[in-house]
Symmetry: C2
Subunit: 291 residues, 2 copies
Amino acid sequence: MKSGSKFLFQQLTILGPGLLGGSIGLAAKKHRLARKVVVWGRRIEAAEAAVKIKAADKIALTPEDAVRGADLVILCTPVQVMSELVRQFRSKLKRTAIVTDVGSTKYDVVKQLSSLLSGRGIYIGSHPMAGAEKDSIHAAKPDLFEGAVCIVTPLPRARQANIKRLVDFWQELGCAIRTTTPAEHDEIVAYISHLPHMMAAALVNLVERRKPDAFNFIGNGFRDMTRIASGPPEMWSHIALSNREEIRRCIDRMIEELETIRRHVTNSSGSELRSYLRRAKERRDDLKHRF
Amino acid sequence: MKSGSKFLFQQLTILGPGLLGGSIGLAAKKHRLARKVVVWGRRIEAAEAAVKIKAADKIALTPEDAVRGADLVILCTPVQVMSELVRQFRSKLKRTAIVTDVGSTKYDVVKQLSSLLSGRGIYIGSHPMAGAEKDSIHAAKPDLFEGAVCIVTPLPRARQANIKRLVDFWQELGCAIRTTTPAEHDEIVAYISHLPHMMAAALVNLVERRKPDAFNFIGNGFRDMTRIASGPPEMWSHIALSNREEIRRCIDRMIEELETIRRHVTNSSGSELRSYLRRAKERRDDLKHRF
């Protein structure tokens, strides 16, 4: 995709060098996607760590300095501080700069940032679905995005050439790209990410509350079902509140599913439960080629 | 634990050479736990396959023939046919033979089998918590039990020496042993195995019903949360019906947990949700050393 010594971007600016920001920097350096990587972080120590591990070439002391001259700016901070940051730096952006973010919800973020950046840089939302239990620059690694799905949520007015430049970047990092609208994004991730996270936490807390001795008996099944419950609580409660309506709907529907199973378990024939479980098995088996 | 050329058992008999029976045979041969392994299966092809892959030395054509001379008999058939089998072979058992089973629920099984075997062999229930999506001799492997938890459910009247022989056997296969009563076993596995299985199936079926497009966006989190939904539906519906009361109670309590989360998501401060998720994270982090 890249030809020889050509870089996709001359300057990449990363705002917020945590797990995602740091890993983007490491991967961008490794695959030579940007000639220069500039980093800014609210905590100078995190930015220094990013340079030390070679996730960035240069520290900027302010967001304004960081974005100056950038062709690609990636907001890797918590979602709730993004608007404030953009207000701070937007006047320093090149008009041709692409700005994206890695927020886990998109409807509100895209609405706010695209409005703030209207007529300044070119904003297109992203959501690389990679993460880990530790949200820290010290957990950053260049292959974090290998095989991860990255959802890109361009608005209808976005130009194809700009979408393509951003998509190329994520693909070079190893991502499989999906494109959808911000609203559809939020509905989808409620089902496949936010609801599962709440279920994993519910399972751990239920056992802790009702049958803590059972933790002495757990095996791989329980381990895999609850792994994501180790995610950072601050981040996940922000995500949940920023996608509140969709998550509530998903929880209601999950309760309906569990009530269906409860009815099937109560009926003595077992045939309804068997077909319910068979339907799940067949669908899940179909998904195997995706992993 | 074994000394030199000594075998733990002279003759091991496996009834039902599927995934578990076949893997027990492979591991027993590999670790030289029995001088001779005899196998019987309702389908002669499965027994032949067991001998072919060296999970057994000899095929018996009837359960009666299979248990003759055995020091350890392991029932690896579906739970619902175990009583009938035991009635068929019990008069041929050595009085000192240890009989166990690998059923996923224990209260009913232990009650039936211990009563049928009273004054014949020595019955002690087992539940090795290993499995896979394919329940077939062709998926058998000698390391299936490495690191798996095996729950042993002796009755109060069981002699320590006999419990120890059975526990030694499972440990040699690589299992970590837990001991509890049959009733406590069923309550525990409802929480850590049966409920998680139902939740995994519910999640797959919910997405299929309400938002099938979302399957195009799934990643590792969804994969891990739903992996166990690929288990055999016939086996799992039997398990669920044989532990109906406990599973219904677990489902009710899970619905209560989800309603709690729903309330926390509705409240705008986020602090309740954050502490809920933090509690789950801390507990889950504590469990890591177990895996």
